[in-house]
Symmetry: C2
Amino acid sequence: MDALAELRAALGPDACLTGGALEGVAHRSDASTTGRDLPLALLRPASVSEISKALEICHRHGQPVVPQGGMTGLAGGANCRPGDVALSLTRFQGVEEIDPVAGAMVVRAGTVLETAQNAARDAGFLLPIDLGARGSCQIGGNIATNAGGLRVIRHGTVRENLLGLEAVQADGTVLSHLSRMRKDNTGYDLRHLLAGSEGTLAVITRAVLRLRPLPSGIETAVCALENYDAVLALMNGARGQVTLSAFEVMWADFFELCGGRRLFAHTPPFAVIIETEGGGLEPLLEKAIEEGTILDALIAQSHAEARRFWEVREGALPEAHVNDIVNFDISLPTAGMDDYVQGCRANISAALPHARSFFFGHIGDGNLHIMVEVPGFADADVHDVDRIAYDLVREAGGTISAEHGIGTLKRDWLGHSRSPAELAAMRAIKRALDPAGILNPDKVL
Amino acid sequence: MDALAELRAALGPDACLTGGALEGVAHRSDASTTGRDLPLALLRPASVSEISKALEICHRHGQPVVPQGGMTGLAGGANCRPGDVALSLTRFQGVEEIDPVAGAMVVRAGTVLETAQNAARDAGFLLPIDLGARGSCQIGGNIATNAGGLRVIRHGTVRENLLGLEAVQADGTVLSHLSRMRKDNTGYDLRHLLAGSEGTLAVITRAVLRLRPLPSGIETAVCALENYDAVLALMNGARGQVTLSAFEVMWADFFELCGGRRLFAHTPPFAVIIETEGGGLEPLLEKAIEEGTILDALIAQSHAEARRFWEVREGALPEAHVNDIVNFDISLPTAGMDDYVQGCRANISAALPHARSFFFGHIGDGNLHIMVEVPGFADADVHDVDRIAYDLVREAGGTISAEHGIGTLKRDWLGHSRSPAELAAMRAIKRALDPAGILNPDKVL
């Protein structure tokens, strides 16, 4: 039998879709919109043993497999090439247990992030992972990309909230270490190796995630600021005085695009959403207004009003439609971030006069996002924009991916952040754990 | 030339000690006192290029190399077998830079932890890594073992404070990623793979460590408690009301051994050292006394008095000499820890009536330490005690090493915490990064 026939026999026809059955079910692309091809088949196993069986068959046949979660990634990491088989975890979902004593949740990889967040909240805990795609991204993808998001400043990236992990290796071997211990120095940390490896080393199936106490006294404000020095002054002042749970900065271009004028009559040069736990926001902002650090501030009077602020930051209601977007997700030294923005904007305008750039980010974590509209989306133009952005990142001592990962779209630029020796070590690890090279080929490396 | 002659030629005679020159300079054992042999040679390179050259020579000759830091480990991880060459990082030491804007320190691996702590404090920052061996342990060893210690409850283990890393691979290749970024998703996380790998995958040479603001309003108390339920009640109460920076529990056997009667007239069943930041300790303890949670408490009135409390916990001034110690460092679900202690103590007494056990630990992190005096230190007796302790750990769903690592002493028990599939994956990674198997052979795996 060939690989597809074996897969169909092992999983059943409902869990191995091919041909016409793929239309409307399988994805051509993640949220980067750069994928072009449907997979050869879409596998939808519903248990770890089915996932293991599917991988064992693919491994034996040398059949490439692309693990897929909620398809919300922006780096092309879950897109298929012609002939690839997609492995969706969507049918292996659900929160299996919440352990209130350990402060931990056992969750299946196919669970939608928001479902897991709600289960934690219903049990009186905070799942400290949150990002704009919460309604469709999946826990497995969050871990495979070491997702960042909106709570990193307070609780770290996904790996910092990952206690235990189960994954299936390329040959079907199940690696299970669903530890709930905070401290565990028993050999190499496979958990941290798999987190952020973007499905190239194993398929993540279950995780134990750390829960935190539900925060109390959440306060949210949006502030208008005159310049980037004021942004830094506000952040540094806040760090000494309050417990920051978010500090999100929008340059005027982004704020205007995403409906900022529903908040302030005139678009300020910078807008900051600041969220605190345990009180203290109002005195902080009063002092900042007195000292001239901020021009204006709105403190949310209700949860609904706070959501209105966040809708702007998350781009939920854009003022205009933007097409042909190239996304960037870079880390930079915080102090030099506005210099980077000005240089990047100027260089892009000089190279591509019709391109438009929008800047925003998790500045408290040193993480800047850029959306660049490249009309026509020609490969050469995209490459030019990439080169401008990444050359400046390298000059500034930053990294080409803070939280989105490498996928295919940043693969050619990985050498801007990692040395040939590091890339060789990564390739050696890849060969050791996936000798047939079937797991998400051509991604990352 | 043979390996030694090449090493001597490359490093110079002062950096390649052999024969009689080893006496009084080279170590037979780390702090576990289980090592018996001097190395064939002690290498003391003073730069990354010398470290690289030394490893390249050893790799070419298949010469085993044991990386050594401050020799304060308790798992035998830095001990040499006959014929091994020891590679000490002691001459590659010093804090290279403190970056106040990024909140980061660049430090060489041979730097003594306390030296790095002091440099951070002089610059107005906290280096959030601290353990009893601070005066002699080295940063490289702290990272190679992913050390825990006294601040984990507040700031996590070493890996959670590790931003960037430089290391030399077995063949001399330098892997350098001295990033200061908090978020960095650029390929596999080699930093987390090397942290905790105990010198078996590469020799750590430099690190970028995260600094935190100097804590203010530190308060320290030692409390006497009647039973373990009271310990849990105090901890849970404290978590809701104050910022805990340490929560250390001593069972009566340990407290008495380490001079606890200098603090309380009668040895209580449990003693807890509690340290808080930002105030609130006194009302917390008053309430706990009113509610009957604690029997008595002493709040330190000075830094010197707080040090006196800590001297008990760190065993600086023991009441009696204890010989032939077997050390344990395990993680357990916090709620079941006293059940474990009672079972372990009873089983050890039944098997070895002359053995004495002393229990203490970082309970807030689920980490228990045990010192067992095994008179005579016979291999069979040590093995019996190991089996008793580790069988109970497996039953309780804990791990056999929380922070000390595996080394040689826990290697035979690693299967109690990790599956055959996980061990096979670790071996595959070891072969991929050290194909000749020269780095710290027979350790961990």
